[in-house]
């Protein structure tokens, strides 16, 4: 069949060229498939290990009991409680600030350099190592304010850390609002504040939701920011005040146990805790996945 199309070609070493081209085609396909399968393999291995080693040891007791024997036995009740407290505080800190920043970036700042500078700053902040947030928090709360370890300090540091994630998501959904709507509202005589309340905010709820969940997923798993300012390993159940009230947290629990992981019982608990943490984080991320994919599909068709 191929011979039907053989037209006498001008160059002499054309057979060589055809062979080379076929080789490149095949090689590229192979590289792609090998790369993809290896990537998938690593992903599956990591997730698989966590699930296989961790899931069997997780049961209702594990969630409900408190830790005993320095984490070698018992459950992770107060670690979960601590993580939840930190996440709620983070949310309470990040959401208002993000709304303010997003409004600045889409409504109040003059167009052009100022807006792209703010967006650029947010991208840079997002890429900062998380340990730096923790150290600066330590400087501020411990050194400057004289607090001890505090859950509020942890929430503030984490909230500051996820600020870019939530803000960028909000900005995207605000920018997706068609300009015609804004002009129509202004044409009706609405003031800027009213336009914000009735158009910008309601239509960016989805962005807020997506960004918050993604940010919380990150905040729940981070150890470095809360290492110095908020968490201890044992001796605390629920916080009692603000200034000197550390909490327990899932990631810190894993971190400390991983450093002296010599006893068999600890290893079981380690895997189980890791499984719970990963399930929480992936659960949060996957919840918003349909909304994120929907947004990017819309962008492609536009």
């Amino acid at each position: 069949m191929r011979g039907c199309f053989a037209v006498p070609e001008p160059t002499v070493d054309n057979k060589l060229m055809r062979r080379r081209r076929t080789f490149i085609d095949l090689a590229t396909h192979t590289i792609a498939v090998v790369g993809g399968l290896l990537c998938l393999g690593i992903v599956t291995a990591v997730l698989g290990w966590i699930i296989l080693r961790g899931a069997p040891h997780v049961d209702l007791h594990f969630f409900w009991e408190a830790s005993r024997e320095s984490g070698l036995a018992g459950g992770i009740r107060y670690q979960i409680a601590g993580t939840i407290i930190l996440m709620l505080t983070t949310l309470a800190v990040a959401v208002p600030l993000s709304i303010g920043l997003a409004l600045a970036a889409t409504v109040y700042l003059p167009r052009g350099a100022a807006r792209s500078a703010l967006q650029g700053f947010l991208q840079l902040l997002n890429a900062m190592p998380s340990i730096l947030f923790g150290i600066v928090g330590y400087l501020f709360f411990f050194h400057y304010l004289g607090w001890g370890k505090s859950w509020l300090a942890g929430g503030l540091v984490l909230g500051w850390m996820i600020l870019p994630t939530v803000t960028i998501s909000l900005i995207k959904s605000m920018e997706a609002i068609p300009l015609k709507q804004i002009h129509a509202a202004a044409g009706l005589g609405m003031r800027r504040g009213q336009i914000i309340r009735s158009i910008y905010l309601p239509q960016s709820v989805r962005g807020l939701f997506t960004g918050s969940f993604l940010g919380l997923a990150r905040a729940a798993g981070e150890t470095a920011p809360i290492l110095f300012v908020a968490t201890v390993f044992a001796g605390v159940s629920l916080p009692e005040g603000i200034r000197d009230s550390p909490v327990l947290a899932l990631p810190y629990h894993i971190f400390v146990l991983a450093q002296d992981s010599l006893q068999a019982g600890a290893i079981e608990n380690l895997w189980a805790t890791a499984f719970v943490l990963v399930a929480l984080v992936i659960g949060l991320s996957l919840t918003v996945l349909p909304f994120r994919l929907h947004n990017s599909n819309r962008r492609d068709h536009a």
Binding site: A32, L40, V43, L103, P129, P251, L277
Partner: protein, 304 residues
């Protein structure tokens, strides 16, 4: 005449007040952070000068603070992670963007993106319980004493940045318009040729930006590296590309900062200053990567 038209009462836009206040707060925190870091690190700079960066001499008990070993560790571990992860990520991205059917591509994408969410402490755990043992066994014939080596750190970080790198690279490849592909195939180019001549050539800035972002993340990672790198100071080899350094334990800027030395340093202004200087160096390195990535992205999206 409608009297309301004439009266222009001043009504403060509360949202504007709120928004500007937040902006001011955020900028204030930023300025305060940078200023504090710089100011607090001054005693160390005054004491050590550039030696802080260049000397391989960290003995805090004797008041000597040369962080060259840590800078070396950070950079090597970051570059190693990128070198290991980028080929895989690029291959996987090409596979997803050019060869997979849309439905399978979606499934693979979801799987890989969920791995990107896994926290670093869990990677650290995997490193401690699994990777460390393996590396200890495999590297023993090369002179490693244990599994806590620079190479282990690099491999673990490579696994950590793989999902993010794959996602970002694939986005960059997808950004090349379908019409370019159709035009090239219409000329008779094979699928493989289209990947190299058209897709990669046009997506290169995006791929580069993605790599820089992945590198930045690897450079800034604390917890996972802390657990597997051995945390041994002053591990600066004599030659720049030394194989022995890879199988020895090492120290990175982040593993030092994540340790308990921060508490110890609290009393001594020079020691504390040195720690703050480490923060600044780390900030500088990661900031450079992030900034370059941002710049490339801006360049690329304005041209396409």
């Amino acid at each position: 005449m409608d009297s309301l038209l004439l009266k222009k009462r001043y009504r403060p836009d509360l949202w504007a007040v709120f928004s500007w206040a937040v902006l001011g707060l955020v900028l204030g925190v930023l300025v305060y952070t940078l200023a504090t870091l710089v100011v607090q690190s001054l005693p160390a700079w005054r004491e050590m000068g550039a030696g802080l960066l260049l000397k391989n001499d960290w003995f805090f008990r004797h008041g000597r603070f040369g962080a060259a070993g840590m800078v070396y560790g950070t950079i090597v571990v970051g570059l190693l992670a990128l070198a290991l992860a980028l080929p895989l990520a690029l291959g996987a991205a090409i596979w997803m963007a050019e060869y997979l059917a849309p439905r399978s591509r979606w499934g693979v994408k979801v799987l890989i993106e969920s791995l990107a969410a896994v926290p670093s402490v869990v990677y650290g755990l995997l490193g401690v319980l699994i990777l460390r043992r393996w590396m200890g066994e495999w590297l023993a014939p090369f002179g490693a004493w244990s599994g806590d080596t620079l190479l282990t750190g690099g491999v673990l970080l490579a696994i950590m940045i793989l999902p993010t790198l794959t996602t970002l690279t694939e986005d960059a490849l997808q950004n090349v318009s379908q019409r370019q592909r159709a035009a090239a195939r219409g000329l008779g180019l094979t699928r493989g040729e289209v990947v190299w001549s058209v897709i990669l050539r046009q997506a290169m800035p995006g791929v580069l930006a993605a790599s820089l972002l992945g590198l930045g993340r690897a450079l800034g990672e604390t917890i996972a590296v802390y657990l597997v790198i051995g945390r041994m100071d002053n591990q600066l080899p004599e030659r720049l590309f030394s194989g022995t350094a890879l199988v020895q334990p090492a120290q990175t800027l982040t593993s030092k900062l994540g340790g308990s030395e921060l508490y110890i340093a609290l009393g001594d202004p020079v020691h504390w200053g040195a720690m703050m200087a480490l923060c600044l160096i780390l900030l500088g390195i990661t900031g450079l990567c992030a900034g370059a990535s941002l710049f490339l992205n801006r360049l690329w999206t304005t041209n396409s």
